[in-house]
Assembly symmetry: D2
Homo-oligomer: 478 residues x 4
């Protein structure tokens, strides 16, 4: 059972039926809803690739918890090699799906709680670490898709959690019983919430004593009572099930708003409960882990973007124009830079006291900062290479029209040996790569804002040591 197939994954998901609203309507069979199906297909790739001969090596790992084979998306990082394999696995999944496969936030969060619960226990003699390992083992054994619940809605961003006029703008503990805790709040941008079995909720920032009730971490099945998934609306959504116009014909992503309306969490799923001084460390480890994932993911998406650019240049008849080659080379540089920094973040990883490995945060944040500027730049170059048809393409209905289909076939043809339909397909894929807001916004804002990455980079750097270097060379004595 440790390695589900794609079908087993989908079946298990169908059984859950979390409370879900899409465009104002309550939906019952979420898994097969036309707006959700492409996302489920995307996550399903993380299952099916674990069974394909040429990719299973990257997708399958061993667990010391279960002492058996597991999907690497559920693994605790126990070596530099694990972290390196993670980057490569994620790049592979992105190459195969061209979008977000929504299973790495859970992976990154599980590793973060393993590292930090150990430290909390050391200080407070709590037993969070044991609970966390127990939970992770459960996830591994059942090969569950977990997503992490991070981004609180935040209200007025100039105010701390406890200062907000409405105390629910950050998720918090509203009550505590002998069986567990009751929480309330909302999490935004919840990529994967409708394709996952479980959510693992983390605090979204460092906390002070006054924010104590907000320092909470826990896991729940996604169909727990009181959890509401509200679908969020992006561009391109009128395309579903429409063939060519889909662009990326099988895969997609969504990022619901998830409401926690007085939700009960049993104690064995609570991994932090008021230990506010650990909220910051937990977030920092999760964030660095996740920026590390981004670099793998976006170099894979980058491969697709580069491939689309090279293909459309060929379809347009100018694959060898010097400016096209120059731009494609720039794109390769951008893609490989993210990959390189994340591999290096693996190489320079350290071992936490729990035994879990933690990537070099400077290199992981460097990769993400680079992504936030350079993936949008890759998209710009992609549009530049493709040309205006990326925005001005008739629909599949037009090319299939008995009245005007012949016009489309004739006039939108590029080079002789490529059909107009295939050229349209490629333009539609490019449109999706460039204008699917969930992906593009994630390039810029995913894993935290660029400003957050900059602050982390500044904090994690030993500036005094560098000042010493300069002073020594200048002959300044201290």
């Amino acid at each position: 059972m440790a390695l589900k197939t794609a079908e087993q994954y989908k079946d298990s998901l169908r059984k859950m039926n979390p409370t879900t609203y899409i465009l104002g309507e309550k939906v019952t069979n979420v898994t097969d809803h036309p707006l959700i199906k492409p996302q489920v297909e995307t996550v399903a790739q993380t299952y099916s690739l674990a069974h394909e001969p040429e990719t299973m090596e990257l997708l399958v790992a061993r667990s010391r918890l279960t002492d058996g084979e597991i999907n690497r998306f559920t693994q605790l990082f126990e070596s530099i090699e694990d972290l390196r394999a993670k980057v490569k696995m994620i790049r592979l999944c992105a190459q195969r799906t061209g979008t977000c496969f929504m299973r790495c936030t859970g992976l990154d969060a599980m590793n973060a709680i393993a590292a930090v619960t150990y430290e909390i226990d050391e200080k407070y003699s709590t037993n969070y670490y044991e609970r966390a390992l127990e939970y992770i083992k459960y996830v591994q054994e059942n090969d569950l898709a977990v997503y992490s619940g991070n981004s609180d809605v935040k209200g007025d961003r100039s105010l701390r959690p406890s200062e907000q006029p409405d105390p629910d703008m950050y998720l918090h503990i509203v009550d505590e019983t002998k069986d567990g805790i009751i929480v309330r709040g909302a999490k935004a941008h919840q990529s994967g919430s409708l394709c996952a079995h479980e959510v693992l909720v983390l605090p979204d920032r460092e906390m002070r004593e006054s924010d104590k009730e907000y320092a909470v971490c826990f896991a729940l099945p996604n169909d727990t009572k009181g959890i509401f998934n509200i679908y969020t609306r992006g561009p391109l959504e009128d395309r579903l099930l429409e063939g060519i116009d889909l662009g990326n014909i099988r895969f997609g992503k969504s990022c619901p708003l998830v409401i926690y309306d007085n939700v009960f969490v049993p104690w064995d799923r609570v991994f932090m409960c008021g230990e506010y001084e650990f909220a910051g460390p937990l977030l920092r480890i999760f964030a660095a882990n996740h920026r590390h994932s981004h670099g793998g993911c976006k170099s894979g998406v980058g491969d697709v973007i580069i491939g689309a650019a090279a293909t459309i240049a060929e379809y347009n008849g100018i694959p060898n124009a010097s400016h096209i080659r120059s731009k494609i080379t720039d794109m390769i540089k951008m893609s490989e830079t993210m990959y390189g920094c994340c591999l290096a973040a693996s190489m320079e990883a350290g071992r936490t006291s729990s035994g879990v490995y933690f990537v070099d945060p400077v290199l992981a944040n460097t990769s993400k900062l680079y992504e936030s500027v350079n993936l949008p730049e890759m998209v710009r170059l992609l549009i530049d290479i493709a040309g205006g048809l990326v925005a001005t393409m008739p629909s599949e209905k037009d090319i299939n029209s008995p009245e005007i289909g012949h016009f489309i076939k004739k006039y939108l043809k590029g080079v002789a040996d490529v059909s107009t339909e295939d050229r349209m397909r490629m333009f539609r894929l490019i449109e999706t790569l460039a204008f699917q807001s969930r992906d593009v916004a994630s390039y810029i804002m995913g894993g935290g804002s660029p400003e957050a990455h900059k602050i982390t980079l500044f904090r994690e750097t030993d500036l005094e040591a560098k000042k010493k270097l300069a002073k020594r060379l200048a002959g300044i004595k201290e």
Copy 2:
């Protein structure tokens, strides 16, 4: 009659009913079709602003042809001051609509034909110039919306028009009679074709003798027999008539594919017919004129982008964060750079032998090249400032739902004194600014590709003079 009102414009448009297909269906009342209405509203602004007291000074000009007041969108440029006023008028229209108002291509094309027909006549003793002035006078007197038909579909881009396997990949003359000519071909990215009375068709590149039949320029009413408008599909189109989710609630743009299926053009509307050596000059003047328009337009769109960024920062509670101010200042710089270069291109304009003024092509192309990199960068900064909700916002149907509307209102609230609805509206406007492909692709590719601008810039620059400067300073004698 010389200055139509917005209503008169719309009424006149309704009477035309050009042959139009939208998503595979033939449409009869185009002007009021839900996908077309916002565009008609946008063009209508160019009419209504000519009647508003505070804006009429920019929108109304005098004509030496009619000896009366005309809409500046139909004017021949007769001074530096005219070109300066054009930039300011266009910036104003963009500030008011936040998108393309689709009437400047016609303006730029009319000025180009006035300049070049004069030169053709000088060489060949033809009477194109007289025809052109007659046509422009007709446009001015009836205050018509004209769009220019430029971008041929091009087929295999490595081949010249006459080398294409299918001779129709560039529009060309297929027959000539005593009454006129018959043309065939297709034009892509035809911004404004469904909101205009007239089309003014230009060749899309320089031509050689072998391409003679492709060197053709003419004007036609948009409902001429044989002209087919085929709507092209972009993102965000399922939003129409849906309130908040619209983003830009009134205005929009589209860029149909237009087919010329053996269309007859009477001689008095033909302005070039085989004089291939003038195709290049005509295109170059049109292109420089249009890049000049772009700078005015995009500095106006830039104002909207900056305004949206500043507003959402305020709604999020952090208008004074130093990184936000720094980014907004960078955006101001970018917007003003385009405006500055286009004002300067006006200031340095020259007079052609026809009397029509022609902007400095180096400065106009510089502005467009800058736009192609920096408007996408402004969009990136806008998303960065706004945050992830630009991609993960529930719909208007959700906030109006009796079951979950209260969740949306509560949890998507930002600062205390702004309603959640208004915050949603601003996020939706930002979504449109960032992900409406027709606009974004136009920032990058509009008015020709960046590579085309670079080639123009290189050609128009006197490199030998600059080499002399360097040699003189280095003491090198020639």
Copy 3:
């Protein structure tokens, strides 16, 4: 006398003999000192170009003060056309010298005091404006070179003038008598102090009441008692009078430190004396004027950089490589952008109440901000195009050596028809363009720091108006 020749300028300078120290030694004949001579030659160009037939139109203006012809470097701006001509004159001078000609700070400062003294008089019924005009008339009649004394040494930059431990870190009034005032302080980066007849001292920042004694503006002959010019040391200074190795064989620049050691200023040369609320406006006008000068200057330097790049590519044998052409085109874009924004700042200039015209500060600051990033980028591209020999060229002594000269001549030859000496000259010019710190630092920091330009840009922009535009489009009612 109103238009001095270059020789008359140099003779008049020789008579002044300001107190000067160079590398620790007191120098008597400053004008002919080998380290100063190239700078005097540079300023002399502003005189000689006023007599050359093809350039005199730009260099010669009319004055309403003298009612005669004057050098445009002494003119009060009385129209948009004056400001346009200023930009063009400055570009010309930079094209001819390839460096800073050190006479525009005085021009910019004279125009600033004309504008602001008028306003001070209006408020306080002082007679500064009359004094200022009298002074400017004297400068015009005698065609004097004036430089402006702006940059105070500033000490601890986190402290205001009156908060500094040493009160002299900003120049200030230390005494006042019936005949005039006594000032003390020091000004850094005083470009042109050793080639000018006069200094016009301005405050370096806005001032508050507590900084009253620092709000002072005055003019003095450069050889006034108590003024010390201390030469500052840059790279490449061992090259003087050494032929090829000079790079720019005739022209140069320097930026002394100037000390005001209890210097007496007679009342008729005092233009502000404690009216602290006008220090900010005076600085702002001067700064915008000077950033406007920068755009003209640096587009001229840009022409030299582009010319050097194109020449060396030719000498190396690869003028037509596609990447070389692409880079040169990028450089053209950068150069023209600065020029364009400054022409536009002229076009959008306003008339102050004194009648002096004042450039659009947004466009002028935009140009300078662009320069601070893009001139260094042009330098980078220049080095990239030239290749490593820009840093690894043997000396003129080597090529002239009887023992090894033949090796140099043989092995450093590029294309067949260019002598090795000429190739060396061009590499040396490029070295100077890239590594003469006074110029390069001025690209980045001249006319104030980039941060200062950003603050100005933010302040001068009406952000509220832009927010209104966005809200209107989004349908938000206020």
Copy 4:
């Protein structure tokens, strides 16, 4: 003897006395010449750090050839760990010297010949590999400083070696005897030629059959008859032995022109002799190795640049200004990106058939491409943060002058607790970092031109695989 001390290194160098010309004069005691001494000190660091307790771990390696400890600058890479240690060692050396330590080209070249001679032998049954190992063993045992001779002077760059009018523009074999070969030519930019014991000469490009005589690789002692070192002149050279004004008070670099005037090479030092098809592979491996070195080096130089920026901001009084912190963070990002990509290039290294490890060329070239744009950008930010005094600082002679020294001390003081002398020192270090042409040109052009890196990146990338990814997602069947 395997680990020389710095003194032993210098003594051994003094004994060599290679033929050297400096500014036209023949020089006898090269090692102690004031212009050479700082460079010798720099290379000496690579010896002394091997003896310092805290750094020896990085500097000392084991050799399978000598079966003992060697300096890592002479090591054959036999594992990923070796390549990782190399990057770290190089970063350390750059942190300590702030410039180029001129010993990595030899290291990179020795590894390249080990890999490629093995392949030549396989094809031709030659014994180059054995010779190469013998030579490397000799270098290891004697802890020699080797530099690589790569960059031919190239003449007309549009012509291949055999097409040049002068056949000597690329170094080539002019004769062959039973004892060895005679070579002629010249190599430019020979960093370290005056601080090294040995030169290892490589071809500078791929070769065709017609270029056969140019396909030559060999090693020689630097004082071999017929080798002429000609010092090349850079900026800042009048500073030597002048205290504060030196900037980097101990260390420096130079890049002579080296002439091979009919030089004899014995057979046992010849590693390629006409096997033209291996010239390309040899260069490619060397180049990738050296770009890998660059990333380590420039991240170390980056640390010094960042340290200097942070120190001067403190000395100026504004270490905590938000724009300063933002810029320093950007600099950290840039520095770490190069480091990250080179660590990753280590991690992804492959084993050549000789057993020597070869870094991932895509990642190594990515780092170098990034450097060529971003180190100049770091320099720009450094100047921006430091302010204009970087270019306008009086000399040490001025501050020591009895007449004006007190002015300098008083007026160039920054914050209260830092002496003016120390502030001057830091500004002088910054001047050196920004304007020492040999270093800055190397950021841009070192290890080949950016265009060369782009071509490599394009060639080494499997674009077809990426096109397949895009087609699969778009639903295009092949």
